[in-house]
């Protein structure tokens, strides 16, 4: 009997416009699959107090407090350190890291945080650029695209794309991106033959062992990729992360083309990370209104617990962690300690149940 683990998603936020814009996508994800959501913000302890940062984080995405499983974590240090730390403390399946606010100046010395996260590859990175439209981000995922570069061995992202497409019941579009060719070469023709539709479908099915995925193979060049994604109405794109980060001067950057896709992208590294066990949420649907709907809300609604529930942690936590619950409890006997709804957690990670 296999033990069920919720799909653990860490939403890394620096309160940029894109982070706010990404909220509908996170809500969609939480409805599609069984997600345990952690909102993460990092800060420099020398510059800002933890209390101020916690208060700010509490005001970000406040509706998540009503979600089945949601917690807020403030960590000192860099985002990459925070994600690495979360990965050590417990299983981490996906990191949501939208783009930060643009500076309006060239970043000559500062590396991209997203590039660092993709390189570290603690977990696949979900990201989106500043240009993505809100309507697209809030859409249910019916078409999942997976970008494969011809001649490269990385297939981990294809495997994950298959898992995800199966879980949400979407069509998987495998899109082969040909390498850049020069005028006069016949490379495109050379590659076209082995990558016809049936060959691709056979290859992916053989690799993933799944026959229940609707596959739609396509072939394109990298410059035309946004157009192809528009044509297939891709709601989310899986890519091999190592192909989309590179160096520019002294910094490591995410390839500009990634944000030009204008839709959510999941960058999967080639290193071994925790395999996904995505549990789709099966929703009941009733066409007709009935008197039974006048019943009050379910009795099993989460009730606030005066004391935090300790979660055993396999390794000691090296840095202090604070978990901030979302709601305020009123007219109830106050717990003695830890006070209020924020708990400093070191060395044991404690989770405060959602009071709503």
């Amino acid at each position: 009997m296999t033990e069920h683990h919720a799909f653990h998603v860490a939403f890394l936020t620096n309160f940029s416009d894109t982070c706010f814009r990404a909220i509908p996508a996170v809500a969609q994800l939480c409805d599609a699959i069984d997600v345990r959501l952690t909102l993460v913000h990092t800060h420099d302890p020398a510059a800002t107090s933890a209390h101020a940062v916690e208060a700010t984080l509490r005001n970000f995405f406040p509706e998540a407090d009503r979600y089945a499983e949601c917690r807020r974590v403030v960590l000192p240090g860099t985002p990459a350190d925070a994600i690495r730390h979360l990965g050590e403390v417990g299983p981490l399946d996906l990191v949501i890291a939208p783009a930060g606010d643009p500076l309006g100046f060239p970043r000559l010395t500062r590396s991209s945080i997203r590039a660092r996260l993709v390189r570290d590859a603690v977990a696949p990175i979900w990201t989106v650029g500043p240009g993505a439209s809100a309507a697209l981000l809030g859409r249910a995922h019916r078409h999942v695209a997976c970008v494969v570069r011809v001649g490269t061995p990385g297939w981990e992202h294809v495997r994950r794309a298959c898992d995800y497409a199966r879980a949400v019941g979407a069509t998987l579009h495998v899109i082969h991106v040909l390498p850049e060719v020069h005028d006069g070469t016949m490379l495109r023709l050379a590659f076209a033959a082995p990558f016809d539709a049936s060959a691709t479908a056979t290859q992916v099915r053989a690799m993933t062992g799944r026959r229940d995925i609707a596959l739609q193979p396509h072939t394109t060049s990298r410059g035309q990729l946004p157009g192809v994604l528009d044509r297939v109405q891709a709601d989310i794109v899986f890519v091999d992360g190592s192909h989309w980060i590179g160096r520019r001067f002294l910094t490591r950057r995410v390839h500009r083309g990634l944000d030009a896709l204008q839709r959510p992208v999941i960058c999967v590294g080639n290193t071994e990370t925790r395999p996904w066990h995505i549990e789709p949420r099966r929703h009941a649907r009733t066409r007709r209104w009935s008197e039974a709907m006048l019943a009050p809300r379910p009795a099993s609604r989460p009730t606030p617990s005066p004391t935090p529930v300790p979660v055993p942690v396999p390794v000691p936590v090296p840095v202090p962690v604070s978990v901030v619950a979302g709601g305020t409890q009123r007219r109830m006997p106050r717990p003695v300690e830890p006070a209020e709804h924020e708990v400093r957690l070191a060395p044991v990670l404690r989770v405060v149940p959602n009071p709503i």
Partner: protein
């Protein structure tokens, strides 16, 4: 108990934005255009002053007239955009009032269950009606916010509404409208049970109608963008004016032309950018109507009215913006 003692009433100064708009919120949107214009202005100034291209100097009179016309056009466009933003905010203010009204009516106009009903059912039924109507109104507000932002409302609704209702709502394309219908059914049942008379039913139903009006007006703003001419021509005219500006200034200002020209361009480009930011008030940006904050305020008010033990905390601004 952090939120209970510090709660401020709706309408406090923090609700909109702080006094100073951080430049880093504005600069990235216009930096690329301004940078390119500066380079262009500099090249014109150098060509005129150092290379002796006198033909680059134009009379500044047409530019002055063009600038005046463009200012009027931009002001008109921005005024239209602001009207949309303000109407959206007004509608949500009306939603706050109507929600409070509906819950007040539900809590005060609905009679207790009749004693002829079974005793075990009676007390529960009274609580159930209040619960259902207050929970319904809270859910409606959150569902409307999600509906306007294109956000999935079900993760929120599942923890506050009956599973059967959520299952039914999943079949509805317009979830807030489904919730209105549900409230109508609820009122009809109360009427059938004799717990409200026809006059009170009319009052409650008229509140539902006003809520439906608010929703319809919000959807009108959401689904009807500003005419595309308002989107396209200001950008083109601003670009044309900014490109022509150094030709009119270079004769008098020489090598200082890029500074003056970029400063004037900054004004026009900013005006263009401001209008673009606020013309769509339901688009999930930091510039839109603060629906998250308002819906939380409504929920706090309604749960307070019912005497709930657990209410959410206030939503405070982040970096000067409420969302």
């Amino acid at each position: 108990m952090r939120g209970a003692g510090r709660r401020r009433p709706l309408g406090s100064k923090e609700m909109i934005v702080r006094d100073r708009l951080p430049l880093r919120r504005v600069w990235p949107a216009i930096s690329k255009r301004l940078g390119l214009l500066f380079v262009f202005d500099l090249s014109i100034a150098v060509l005129y002053s150092r290379a002796g291209y006198d033909v680059l100097a134009l009379s500044s009179l047409p530019l002055g007239m063009m600038g005046a016309g463009l200012s009027v056009f931009l002001a008109f466009r921005n005024n239209s955009a602001y009207d949309r933003w303000w109407e959206a905010r007004t509608l949500w203010g009306s939603l706050v009032n109507q929600s409070r009204t509906f819950v007040r009516q539900a809590l005060t106009l609905v009679d207790a269950p009749k004693p002829s009903r079974s005793r075990s059912q009676g007390a529960d039924a009274e609580v159930d009606v209040a619960d259902t109507l207050v929970d319904w109104q809270v859910a409606y507000v959150h569902a409307l916010r999600c509906h306007l932002r294109g956000q999935n409302p079900y993760p929120e609704l599942e923890t506050t509404m009956a599973p059967a209702l959520v299952a039914w709502l999943r079949t509805q394309r317009n979830v807030p409208l489904g919730l209105l219908l549900h409230a109508g059914h609820c009122l009809r049942r109360l009427f059938d049970e004799g717990r409200i008379d026809s006059y009170r039913l009319t009052q409650l139903d008229s509140t539902l109608t006003r809520l439906c009006d608010v929703q319809g007006a919000c959807e009108r703003i959401k689904n009807t963008p500003l005419p595309r001419q308002y989107e396209f021509f200001p950008r083109v005219f601003v670009l044309a004016y900014c490109l022509l500006l150094p030709f009119g200034l270079v004769e008098g200002m020489g090598l200082l032309t890029p500074l003056a020209s970029t400063l004037v361009s900054f004004i026009f480009v900013s005006l263009d950018s401001i209008g673009r930011d606020i013309e769509a008030p339901f688009e999930s940006t930091v510039h839109d109507t603060p629906m998250t904050q308002l819906s939380h305020t409504i929920e706090i008010n309604l749960r307070d009215s019912r005497g709930d033990l657990h209410v959410p905390h206030d939503v405070r601004p982040i970096d000067g913006f409420v969302y």
